[in-house]
C-alpha cells in the first residue's frame, strides 16, 4: 500500500491545456467533408483547405512539443522512455496498415487464397522491370539507411558536423528515391483503373512513397533542429524516432521489392490451379 514515508513527487510531464487538439479535429472534419465534396463534384478547394489546416495544426503542435523538449526538467528520462514506447507503438500500427495492402496483394496473386483469381500478373498487364528502377531504388533506400546510422553514431559521439552532413545526405537520398518513384509511375504501361494489378501496385507502393515523404520531412526537421543546437548525445528522442521511422519505411520497401516487384512480376504459372 501507499506509504507516506516513501512516496515521492512525480517526475512526469503533464502538458498544459492546449487549443491544438480541437483545432486539429475541426481541421480533420474540414478535410473529410472537403474530400467527399471533391470526390462527388470535383471541387477540390475545401479538401485543400483541410489539408492546410491539418498541416498548420501539426506545425504549431509539434513546435510546442519541441519547445518542451528543449526546456530542462520537462522531458525527464522516464518521459523519454514513454515517448520511445509510444513511437514504437505508432510504427506497429503502421505495420498493420501495410499488412492490409500486402494482404490485398497476396489475396489477388495467390490462387490458394482466392477462388476467382486468374493468372498473375493478369493477362494484358505489362509489368515493370524488376532490375531497373525498382532495384536502383532498393540500393538508394538501403544506402540511406546506412547514412542515417552513421549520422546517429555521429550524434552519439557529439560530432555535430558529421551528424548534420549525413542526415542531409539521407534526406537527399530519400527525395531521389521519390523522384525515381514518380518517374516510374509516369512510364508505367498501366494506370490505376486497369484492374486488380494496378490497384494493389499503386496503393501499396503509393502509401509507401507517401511514408518516405513523411520520413524525409521528419528528418529535414531534425536537420534544422540539429543546426539550431537541438539534440544532445544522451537526449535526442526526436531524431531517434525519425531514424526508427526511416528504417521502418526501408523494411516495408524490402517487402514490396521482393514480393510485388520481383516475385509478383514473374509469371506464376506453376501456382495456377
Amino acid at each position: 500500500m501507499a506509504s507516506d514515508a516513501t512516496s515521492k513527487p512525480h517526475h512526469w510531464h503533464v502538458a498544459d491545456p492546449s487549443p491544438w487538439p480541437i483545432v486539429g479535429s475541426v481541421s480533420a472534419l474540414v478535410m473529410a467533408v472537403g474530400g467527399i465534396i471533391y470526390m462527388h463534384t470535383g471541387f477540390i478547394w475545401g479538401f485543400l483547405l483541410g489539408v492546410v489546416l491539418v498541416m498548420y495544426t501539426m506545425v504549431v503542435w509539434f513546435k510546442d512539443v519541441i519547445l518542451e523538449a528543449e526546456t530542462p526538467g520537462l522531458h525527464t528520462p522516464p518521459v523519454q522512455v514513454g515517448l520511445r514506447i509510444s513511437f514504437l507503438l505508432f510504427i506497429v500500427s503502421e505495420v498493420m496498415f501495410f499488412f492490409a495492402f500486402f494482404w490485398a496483394f497476396f489475396h489477388s496473386s495467390l490462387p490458394i487464397l482466392n477462388l476467382v483469381a486468374g493468372a498473375w500478373p493478369p493477362e494484358g498487364i505489362e509489368v515493370l522491370h524488376t532490375w531497373d528502377i525498382p532495384f536502383l531504388n532498393t540500393l538508394i533506400l538501403l544506402s540511406s539507411g546506412a547514412t542515417l546510422t552513421i549520422a546517429h553514431h555521429a550524434l552519439i559521439e557529439n560530432n555535430r558536423d558529421r551528424f548534420l552532413n549525413y542526415t542531409l545526405i539521407t534526406v537527399i537520398l530519400g527525395f531521389i528515391f521519390l523522384g525515381f518513384q514518380i518517374f516510374e509511375y509516369s512510364v508505367a504501361a498501366f494506370s490505376l483503373q486497369d484492374g486488380i494489378y494496378p490497384s494493389t501496385f499503386f496503393l501499396a507502393t503509393g502509401f509507401h512513397g507517401f511514408h518516405v515523404l513523411i520520413g524525409a520531412v521528419f528528418l529535414t526537421v531534425c536537420y534544422f533542429r540539429g543546426r539550431n543546437g537541438h539534440f544532445k548525445p544522451d537526449h535526442h528522442v526526436g531524431f531517434e524516432a525519425a531514424a526508427w521511422y526511416w528504417h521502418f519505411v526501408d523494411v516495408v520497401w524490402l517487402f514490396l521489392f521482393i514480393n510485388v516487384y520481383w516475385w509478383g512480376s514473374s509469371p506464376l504459372g506453376h501456382l495456377q490451379p
Binding site: M1, A2, S3, D4, T6, S7, K8, P9, H10, W12, V14, A15, D16, P17, S18, P19, P21, I22, G24, S25, V26, A28, L29, A32, V33, G35, I36, M39, H40, W61, L74, V81, G82, I85, S86, L89, F90, V92, S93, M96, F97, F98, F99, A100, F101, W103, A104, H107, S108, L115, V116, A117, G118, P122, L192, Q193, G195, I196, S199, L203
Partner: protein, 538 residues
C-alpha cells in the same frame, strides 16, 4: 497519502487547479475531465442509437409495414444503430470514459502519458460521430449494415456520398482509437507506481492493456480496408470488384480481421470492471488473479485468428472451416476460466447485493447465455442454417450489446460516487437494475426462437408465423426504454441531491488505489507517487 504531504512539495507545472470556463473542457489535458467528456458523449450516443433501435422495434412489433415506407430507410436505421452503439457508445464509455478516469488513478500516475493527445482522441471521436450522423442524412443514407459489404456498398448500389461519409467517419474514429490505444499502453507500461509490477496491477488495468493492443493491431487493418473501399468507389480501383479481377470476399476477410478483435475490444474492458465489482462486493480478492489476467491476454490473441467464422457461408473448403470452428471453440477455454473465477470469487464471500454487484451478476448471466449461443454458432455446419437469422442477432446482442452495457452500468454505479462525489439512491438503483434485466431478457431471448424458426435479420417485414415472439420482443424494448429513462433520472437526481460520498463507500472489499483519494477525486491526484512495493515483514 496525507494532504499535507501533497500540499508542500510542488516542483512541477501542475500546481494550478482547474482552468475556468469553457477552456477547461475544450482545451483539457486532464484525464478526469476528458474521461467525463467521453462518458457524456457516450450518453448522448446511446440516446441516439437507442432511438434508432426503438424505431426498429416499433416497425417489427407486428407483421407488415407499419411506419416505414422507404425500405432503404430501414437499412439506414439498422446501419446507424450498429455504428453508433459500437463506435460511439460502448467504446467511448468503457475505454475512453472508465479507462481515462481510472488507469492513472489505479496505477498511481498523475495523468495519462500524453494528455494533449488524449484530448484529440476525444474530439476526433466527436468529429467521427458528426460524420456518421451526416451519412445517415445525405443521399438516402448508408444502408449497408455496419459490415459495409461490397457490392452493396460500392458505387453502383450506393452511388451517393452517404457511404463515403460513413467510411471517413470510421477513419476518423479509428484514428482517435489508435491514438488512444498508444496513450493507454504507454501509460500502463511506463507510469505504474514503483512496486506495481505487471503481475500485481489491478485486473482493470490488465483489461485495458489487452484492449489497447487489440485496438492498435486491428484498427489499422480496418483503415486499410476502408481506404480500398474508398478508392474502389471513387478512383476506379477494383479491390472488391470481380469484374476487375478483385474479390468482394476479400472485404469480408479484412473487415472481420478487424471485426472479431473489435467485439473483444468491447467486452474485455467489461471483464476488468466485473472483476473489481465482484471482488469488492464479495469482500474477497479475485480468485485466480494471474489466470484472470492471462485469460484476457489469451482471448485477445485468439481473437485475431478466428475471423472467418463470420464467413462460413462464402464457400470455404472443409479444412478451412474445420480450422475456424476449432480455433473459435478454443476461446471458450479462457472465457470459462473467467466465468468460473468470478463464481469462485463469490463462493464463500460475504456478498453485498448493491447495484453494481447486481449488474455484475447480471453481466455474468448474460455473457454465459451469449457465450453458449456463440459456441452453437461456431459450428460451421450449424451456422449455415443460422447465418443472417435472428439467432445471430440474439447471440451478439447478449454478448456485446447487453452484456457490455451491463458492464458499463456496473462500472458506472461502482465509480459514480468517486467521479461526482455523491451517492446514488440504492433503492432506485436496484429497481433500475431489475427493470433493465427483465426488459433486455424479454427483448432479446425470444429472438433466439424467431431465429431458429428462420426469421432473417435486416428485413422490416415478416410472415405472420413470427408475429408472437416479435410482439414479446417489442414489449421488452418498452421495458428497457423505461429502465434507460430511470437510469438518466438517477444520474440527474444524484448530481442534484445525492448524499456526499466518502472516499471509499464500499468498505474493506475495495482495495485499489482510486478508493484512497477523496470523492470526488480532486482535479490532480497522485502528485506524490505512491509506493506500492511490498512492505518488509513486521
Amino acid at each position: 497519502m496525507s494532504d499535507a504531504a501533497a500540499a508542500h512539495d510542488h516542483g512541477h507545472d501542475d500546481h494550478h487547479g482547474a482552468p475556468a470556463g469553457w477552456r477547461r473542457w475544450v482545451y483539457s489535458t486532464n484525464h478526469k475531465d476528458i474521461g467525463t467528456l467521453y462518458l457524456v458523449a457516450a450518453m448522448v450516443a446511446v440516446l441516439i442509437g437507442g432511438v434508432f433501435s426503438f424505431m426498429i422495434r416499433l416497425e417489427l412489433q407486428s407483421p407488415g409495414l407499419q411506419y416505414i415506407e422507404d425500405l432503404q430507410f430501414y437499412n439506414v436505421l439498422v446501419t446507424a444503430h450498429g455504428f453508433v452503439m459500437v463506435f460511439f457508445f460502448v467504446m467511448p464509455a468503457l475505454i475512453g470514459g472508465f479507462g481515462n478516469w481510472f488507469i492513472p488513478l489505479m496505477i498511481g500516475a498523475p495523468d495519462m502519458a500524453f494528455p494533449r493527445m488524449n484530448n484529440i482522441s476525444f474530439w476526433l471521436l466527436v468529429v467521427g460521430l458528426l460524420l456518421l450522423l451526416t451519412s445517415a442524412l445525405v443521399a438516402g443514407g448508408a444502408g449497408t449494415g455496419w459490415t459495409v459489404y461490397p457490392p452493396l456498398s460500392n458505387a453502383t448500389f450506393h452511388s451517393g456520398a452517404a457511404v463515403d461519409f460513413a467510411i471517413l467517419s470510421l477513419h476518423v474514429a479509428g484514428a482517435s482509437s489508435i491514438l488512444g490505444a498508444i496513450n493507454f499502453i504507454t501509460t500502463i507500461m511506463n507510469m505504474r507506481a514503483p512496486g506495481m509490477t505487471y503481475h500485481r496491477m489491478p485486473l482493470f488495468i490488465w483489461a485495458m492493456l489487452v484492449t489497447a493492443f487489440l485496438l492498435l493491431l486491428a484498427l489499422p487493418v480496418l483503415a486499410g480496408a476502408l481506404t480500398m473501399l474508398l478508392t474502389d468507389r471513387n478512383f476506379g480501383t477494383t479491390f472488391f470488384e470481380a469484374s476487375g479481377g478483385g474479390d468482394p470476399i476479400f472485404w469480408q476477410h479484412l473487415f472481420w480481421f478487424f471485426g472479431h478483435p473489435e467485439v473483444y475490444i468491447m467486452i474485455v474492458p467489461a471483464f476488468g470492471v466485473i472483476s473489481h465489482v465482484v471482488s469488492t462486493f464479495s469482500k474477497k480478492p479475485v480468485f485466480g488473479y494471474l489466470g484472470m489476467a492471462y485469460a484476457m491476454a489469451a482471448i485477445g490473441f485468439i481473437g485475431f485468428i478466428v475471423w472467418a467464422h463470420h464467413m462460413f457461408t462464402v464457400g470455404f473448403n472443409v479444412e478451412t472451416r474445420a480450422y475456424f470452428v476449432l480455433a473459435t471453440m478454443v476461446i471458450a477455454v479462457p472465457t470459462g476460466v473467467k466465468i468460473f473465477s468470478w463464481l469462485a470469487t463469490m463462493w464463500g464471500g460475504s456478498i453485498e447485493f448493491r447495484t453494481p454487484m447486481l449488474y455484475a451478476m447480471g453481466f455474468i448471466f448474460l455473457f454465459v447465455v451469449g457465450g453458449v449461443t456463440g459456441i452453437t454458432l461456431a459450428n460451421a455446419g450449424v451456422d449455415i442454417a443460422f447465418h443472417d437469422t435472428y439467432f445471430v442477432i440474439a447471440h451478439f446482442h447478449y454478448v456485446l450489446s447487453i452484456a457490455a452495457a451491463f458492464g458499463i452500468l456496473s462500472g458506472f454505479f461502482y465509480w459514480f460516487p468517486k467521479m461526482c462525489g455523491k451517492m446514488y439512491n440504492e433503492s432506485l438503483g436496484k429497481i433500475q437494475f431489475w427493470l433493465m434485466f427483465i426488459g433486455v431478457n424479454i427483448l432479446f431471448f425470444p429472438q433466439h426462437f424467431s431465429g431458429m424458426a428462420g426469421m432473417p435479420r435486416r428485413i422490416p417485414d415478416y410472415p405472420e408465423a413470427y408475429a408472437g415472439w416479435n410482439f414479446v420482443s417489442s414489449i421488452g424494448a418498452y421495458i428497457s426504454f423505461a429502465a434507460s429513462l430511470l437510469f438518466f433520472y438517477i444520474v440527474i437526481q444524484t448530481l442534484r441531491s445525492g448524499e456526499k460520498a466518502p472516499a471509499n463507500p464500499w468498505g474493506e472489499g475495495a482495495t485499489t488505489l482510486e478508493w484512497q483519494v477523496p470523492s470526488p477525486a480532486p482535479f490532480h491526484t497522485h502528485d506524490q507517487t505512491p509506493d506500492m512495493r511490498p512492505q518488509p515483514a513486521e
